[in-house]
Amino acid sequence: MKTPSERRAALIRLVESKTVTRVTPPLLLPAAPYLDLAGEEFGRGLLLTTANDGRDYCLRPDFTLPIAVSYLDEGLLDVPAAYTYLGTIFRQSENGPEEFDQAGLELLGQPDAGQALDQVLTFARWALAIYGVTAPSIRLGGVGLFEAFLAAADISPAWQARIRARFGHPEAMQRLVERLSRPPEKTGGAAPDGRETVIEIVTDAMLSSGLSLVGSREPEEIADRYLEKQTLAAERIPDRMVRLLREYLEVSDTAPRALDRIASLTASYGIDIEEPLLEVRNHAAALAALSPKAEVIFDASFSPRLDYYTGIVFEMTGEDGAILASGGEYDRLLDRLGAPQPVTASGCALWIDRLEAEAASR
């Protein structure tokens, strides 16, 4: 590939290849689904405009959501689909509004999720090759592996949920681990008599401050969490499990070494996560075979911030550290959008402007 236009032509050939369907969602999209799905954190990156009827619209900030929504709207749930895209996305950045060229692949409802992920990795690898990037740094993360690890560890479900909610957010996770590592705090005052009493106290407080007992948090919910907090303070996670959690999250190395380390680490604590580990190993091996020159790192603490990611996630970076491609498995996405049954999903997005910059700098 020599000139930018030749590279562009090759990219178009890739997104229009026979086995996939290229789609082009509208540039102007309702903003609510994005805010519902990804919350305020993603919302701050949207370029918004308001319709006459007061509804918010945004300039297309990504392709995954509109593609998943239309897959759902068209009732294709049982139909394996492979969509590709290439077009402009718009985001707010430090320097004001910006537009980027993005390409990508979305595989929805595929019967073999593992195969689908390998297909995604292959797509990303070919796209990078068009731009002459044959030795990217690849970072793999295991969301599914971490969930399996938590479930197998000697950690109560209430704590598991709290730890899981912080996965992919290093600062929040570190604060939690530090909190878990400290000696138990004395909870002030004697515990109230029991659930019924606490519910009564909370109900009284809500009524006297004019809060509705329905619609927001309800007295039972508040009381239960209050009691759970007391229980959690009393029933701490065993120190050895906190140590294990800390050591697990610190693992970051070339994929085979990192996965060996996790295997021996968990085994030494008597925890069995062989099956999900094997899955990660297989994909890492497939990736290594695809890009023999790439450096494949498995980082146990790596996860995108969005909570609909499920299995394996990845990002590929170029020489200056810019992310060129990212993606993974996100089986919870269609569930979040209201799918009545589980739908497997995996995909990746490519930052074409950055790829072009990589190619031009060679």
């Binding site: 805010l35 519902d36 990804a38 919350g39 305020e40 954190e41 993603f42 919302g43 701050r44 707010q92 430090e94 949920a161 709290r162 909610a165 912080r166 957010h169 600062e171 929040a172 996770m173 604060r175 939690l176 909190r179 606490v198 106290i201 909370v202 407080a205 809500m206 006297s208 401050s209 004019g210 809060l211 509705s212 619609g215 927001s216 948090r217 007295p219 919910e221 508040i222 009381a223 969490r225 209050y226 759970e228 907090k229 911030r305 909570d307």
Partner: protein
């Protein structure tokens, strides 16, 4: 914009106006408002090169950020709120010792299980599963809220923008909790709201603020230095960073 002459924006009403005019008057820069409270133009005696404009404090912050005025008195919170990169677009010359207010996170007092931001993170993370919608935060401080919540890893919530009477939002059912300013906490307490123990987002007070984006010619910089030296308490040379 002319090459000479400075625009100074002063809050147009209330205690912020009074205190600003008092401080300038004490520095022998009395701000005159010939048309009274309904006029929006003013002047400083013996300083014909300074044009005074009376504007709402929020508008002063926005105009400083975009560079439409040169100097202004406004709350630090409003600069932070005016734009995500607001603080980078201005220079905080000096705090003025009035207009003190804390921007805080407050929850219904009945939420006895929520005392810290970590509790809020827990509540937010399974709120949607329980209630079929996001946790809602009423505030007019959208940028400050987003930044503070992001620092605590809270992503699963929505902001409900509130223009006034934010403290009434939980009782009205339009939000679950609020981010608002408070000086004594009494309005919050009257609405049965409690500030989280680590819920202080920022301590704000009125500042004298310079716009980095204004058109600073050497002449205007010199005029600025002259005015600041009369005002006092500001080391000379600040205009070199503009």
């Amino acid at each position: 914009m002319s090459t000479g002459g400075l625009t100074l924006a002063v809050p147009s009403k209330g205690r912020l106006e009074e205190e600003t005019r008092r401080i300038f008057a004490e520095a022998r820069l009395p701000i005159e408002r010939p048309g009274g409270s309904r006029s929006y133009a003013g002047a400083i005696k013996n300083q014909p090169q300074i044009t005074v404009r009376f504007l709402p404090a929020g508008e002063i912050a926005r105009e400083l950020i975009v560079g439409a005025i040169d100097i202004g008195v406004t709350g630090a919170d409003l600069i932070h709120e005016g734009a995500e990169n607001g603080p980078d677009r201005v220079v905080f010359v000096r705090p003025l010792g009035f207009g003190n207010a804390d921007v805080v996170v407050a929850v219904p007092d009945a939420w006895i299980d929520v005392t810290h931001m970590v509790d809020l993170a827990d509540v937010a993370s399974d709120f949607r599963r329980r209630h079929g919608r996001w946790l809602r935060v009423a505030t007019k401080y959208v940028n400050l809220t987003r930044r503070h919540f992001a620092n605590y890893g809270i992503t699963e919530y929505r902001i409900v923008e509130s223009a006034g009477a934010t403290e009434a939002a939980p009782a009205a059912g339009s939000a679950d909790l609020i981010v608002d300013i408070t000086s004594s906490g009494s309005t919050l307490a009257a609405n049965s709201l409690r500030i989280l123990e680590d819920g202080l987002i920022m301590q704000s007070e009125a500042h004298l603020v310079l716009s980095r984006g204004a058109h600073w010619t050497p002449l205007r910089k010199a005029q600025l230095e002259a005015m600041l030296s009369i005002l006092g308490g500001i080391p000379p040379g600040i205009s070199t960073i503009l």
